[in-house]
Amino acid sequence: MSAPPESTRVGWSREEMAQRAALDIPDGSYVNLGIGMPELIARFVPKGRELIYHTENGLLGMGPSPAEGMGDPELINAGKRQVTVVPGASFFQHPDSFAMIRGGHIDLCVLGALQVAQSGDLANWSTGEPGAIPAVGGAMDLVAGVKSIFVLTQHVTKHGDPKLVEACSYPLTGVGVVNRIYTDLAVVEVTPHGFQLVELAPGVSYEYVAERTGADLLPIAEGATK
């Protein structure tokens, strides 16, 4: 899964994807970043914006990883990695943490995806393979409750299959929940009319993205601003 060498890469790197998504997060937002690539976003928040990070295991005001050897094994994030707190943080129990989520108090959640359907359905917790250990964690709570859901994902699987599809073949995490998708190739909005291209990665054409998208992709309208 490591990125190909810079010279042959098409589109945005993982860091550039995170940076692009970070641009769209308003100052003062309460944000939950999913485990993995979404966590990179915290590094790219534009200067002058203050975001507050929620981690569903019970912390608002999460800071970066501690310096080596300075962490507390009982101060961790949802990915079970050691973190720190910023001034103004608070700890709380799980029911309160998920009340924040379910009650619509978190402004934005950024998640990874196995598939996103043009209706906004998300599949990100199970490939449904027989014998696999199902594990859902807080994903279904997040998509059901958070005000906006961003997906940060490669545009296609490592086998080259589209992840943006007409309908998910994998078990769903939530129905009609995704607002925007940030991939290595493009930024795509989920609209009532389906996938709407918002922005292309530098050097990537509409046709290149559309070919790798498993559903209709509405082109950027003439004269539209990004």
Partner: protein, 256 residues
């Protein structure tokens, strides 16, 4: 005088071990009273944060079996919850994420069909436990609507949105870990180790706490008590609790 303190983890009134002469399986009833039904045990912790390892090991030593265990995960390595599962004491796990780094015990038993799994979204699990403790037998949530985890659940709409009915969850025992405790069972916690502990303390008939610090009554400011003593039955001091990740890194198994 109210004093919920215990001398050692071995005194914790965990579920009774199986009877010495269990009734023969299959064709109806052995001698004497039937054994009590296997207990449901809620175990605090999210990953290693808040995991009451010493109480779990005491439960292994004590011998109860056929348990239904409620925990967000299924433990890691071969200590704590993973050790309890490895020892064959757990018939069923109720959890949200049974797959973690260094988690091999549960996956193997699950694939072999030797342990049952009730998979519950994390927030629904937390709320079901809180509801159980608060005397609420059922509530509606939008979480899981339209997904495989809503199958078999009643659903209905309120104000045009669809919700599923979820049931409150209670237990016979809760094993949790606190930072400070007094003789009344008032508790505070350490950072993100708080997680499921306050709700589990509410939802269990008998709540047993291992605390890092045992303090005099009145030392905990009434404004900062997280779990009031009414939800706690027994407190045992474990001044230097083990950390799961350190034990796993050292390759420790329990019992060794």
């Amino acid at each position: 005088m109210i004093d919920k303190a215990l001398g050692s983890v071995a005194e914790a009134p965990v579920p009774p071990p199986p009877p010495l002469n269990p009734p023969a399986g299959g064709g109806g009833g052995g001698r004497g009273a039937p054994p009590p039904p296997p207990a449901t045990v809620m175990i605090g912790g999210f990953g290693e944060a808040g995991s009451p390892i010493e109480l779990i090991h005491a439960l292994i030593d004590q011998g109860a079996t056929g348990l239904t265990v409620v925990n967000n995960n299924t433990g890691s390595g071969e200590v704590g919850l993973a050790a309890l599962i490895k020892a064959g004491r757990v018939a069923k796990m109720i959890c949200s994420y049974p797959r973690s780094m260094n988690s091999t015990v549960f996956p193997e038993l699950y694939k072999a069909g030797k342990i049952e799994l009730e998979l519950v979204p994390q927030g629904t699990l937390a709320e079901r436990i809180r509801a159980g403790g608060a005397g609420i037998p059922g509530f509606y949530t939008a979480t899981s609507v339209g997904t495989p985890l809503a199958e078999g659940k009643e659903s209905r709409s309120f104000d045009g949105r669809e919700y599923v009915l979820e049931r409150g969850l209670t237990a016979d025992f809760a094993l949790i870990k606190s930072e400070r405790a007094d003789r009344y069972g008032n508790l505070t916690f350490n950072k993100t180790a708080r997680n499921f502990a306050p709700a589990m303390a509410m939802a269990a008939r008998t709540t047993i706490v291992q605390t890092k610090h045992f303090v005099d009554a009145g030392e905990l400011d009434p404004e900062v008590v997280v779990t009031p003593g009414i939800f706690v039955d027994r407190v045992v001091t474990v001044a230097n609790p083990a950390h799961e990740s350190a034990l796993v890194a050292a390759g420790v198994s329990y019992p060794s």
